[in-house]
Amino acid sequence: MSQLLQQLVLGLLLGGVYVSVALGFSLVWGILNIVNLAHGAFVIIGAYITWVLFSRLGVDPFLSLPVDALVLFALGYGLQRGLINRVIRAPLLFTFLLTFGINLVIVSLLLLIFSPDFRSVTPRYSGSGLSLGSVTIPYIGLARLGIAMLLALVLWFVLNRTRIGAGIQAVGADRDAAQLVGIDLRHVYALTFAIGAAFAGVAGGLIGLQQSITPTAGDPFTLQSFAVVILGGLGRVSATIAGGLLFGLIQVLGLNAPGLGAGYSNAIAFAVLVVVLAFRPQGLLGRLA
């Protein structure tokens, strides 16, 4: 019983990681109709920024998160405005190819700058946790879940309570109609992409606390984000939260499923994904267009 409880806790915490990583991916996909294959690379850039600040300057990883956000915001804005905007109206395959290429370039640059060595961020509190009876809650996992929820709240607020959020929603709904009420399409595109990248940067900032960082470590995050968005559905912040938490739970429970080896964890997670899609093609909370 307590073992199950422990797994549920760990599953939710892992889900928090998925939520934080997938929020920006979901925003960019939902509004711009771009499946950003460089999303994982953005996450890893955030991880390296935090690592540099921690290992060179001794900055606490949590304090480096705003820096991650700012740098990735600027990078995202520039990439969208300068590069991706050129193919934004082209078929999905073009943005696929372009972001695939951007991913390769970023990974290669990271290899040049940081070498393929494994890096990790190890402040004093890493590894410690909160003990509640027989259940242990690692502090870092708890903090990452908290930050994921904070990011979700910020995104919801921006989308629903601000001027630029209204612009982003309008562009997501109808590009032409949005222009005709005076919305600067290219600016909103670039801002949306920049916000997505900034969120990836913050999610990445805490990656190094729990796993080692390498230039190629980003690709799984793109895949996971994809799975989370499909599971939860597009077009709602709450859908990404539901998808992320559920995906985390399934993975941890699958890892410890009785009678099956740990190697089946991913297979189980994606099998659940397929089953959900069979019954709810729009995802758990998504909207059908």
Partner: protein
């Protein structure tokens, strides 16, 4: 000085000439009608004026400055509002939020905060008769109400010119009367209008002048009653044989079945 001047505008799509040297001008306070058979280039013309399309040739002047080639959002902020033939509300928003986007981004005088924009949205929803439904999600609106919302969203930009693309299509005669009242009321507030219509009653009922397009070329321009009686117009709508047989007395309104609403008078 004309408020809007379209001079020699042409637009091609591949090998198809959608517009060929279209020229007309609209005076302040006018309600200017654009009519023509399906495929005559009416919507393309509005798309060129509102900046959704780049023109291939010609110039479009608005309040004595050239707006040729400006991006659509800049043209919108210069005071030119636009509605679509097939309504295009922002589906994730309520009626009120939809109207507020116009006020939030499109007003020429500068930035409004979300709260001010919502307040202004209430004003225009009142004007078009949607005040009671302001908190509805847009998918709950009927077709006539969605058309009203299109107009409200454009009006929230405080435009000095409104381009209306077949706001009457698909409405029944009672709804058309209501929509006509709305058009007149908006016009009385000093908004110049250019409207595309298939419903001839609308053209005759409200327009000061009308331009007929045929295969992307201007055919004739003048008083609506005179334009509709012109043999060239009848021919364009009904074919050459009918024009010869029917002569100038056969009004095209009798047989205008396009666009789902060509009611006779």
């Amino acid at each position: 000085m004309s408020q809007l001047a379209v001079r020699g505008v042409s637009k091609r799509f591949g090998g198809v000439a959608a517009l060929t040297e279209v020229t007309f001008s609209v005076e302040p306070g006018e309600i200017f009608g654009i009519i023509g058979p399906n495929g005559a280039g009416k919507t393309t013309l509005l798309n060129c004026i509102s900046g959704l399309y780049d023109t291939d040739a010609g110039e479009i002047r608005w309040e004595d400055r050239s707006i040729t080639g400006l991006p659509a959002h800049r043209i919108a902020r210069l005071g030119i509002g636009r509605t679509f033939q097939i309504v295009r509300p922002f589906g994730s928003m309520t009626v009120r939020e939809n109207a507020a986007t116009g006020a939030l981004f499109g007003q020429p005088s500068g930035r409004l905060q979300p709260r001010q924009a919502l307040a202004y949205a209430d004003t225009v929803l009142d004007l078009v008769g949607l005040a009671a439904k302001r908190d509805y999600p847009v998918r709950r609106l009927t077709v006539p109400d969605r058309k009203r919302l299109e107009v409200a969203r454009a009006l929230a930009m405080r435009p000095r010119l409104l381009l209306l693309d077949e706001v009457m299509a698909g409405l029944n005669p009672v709804e058309i009367e209501q929509a006509l009242d709305m058009v007149r009321q908006v016009n009385r507030q000093g908004v110049t209008m250019v409207l595309i219509e298939h419903v001839m009653r609308v053209i005759v009922g409200v327009c000061t002048r009308a331009l007929v397009l045929n295969f992307g070329r201007p055919l004739i321009e003048g008083k609506p009653e005179a334009v509709l009686r012109d043999p060239r117009v009848i021919e364009a709508y009904l074919g050459e044989r009918y024009a010869r047989q029917g002569g100038p007395d056969a009004s095209p309104t009798q047989a205008d079945g396009e666009g789902g609403g060509g009611a006779g008078q």
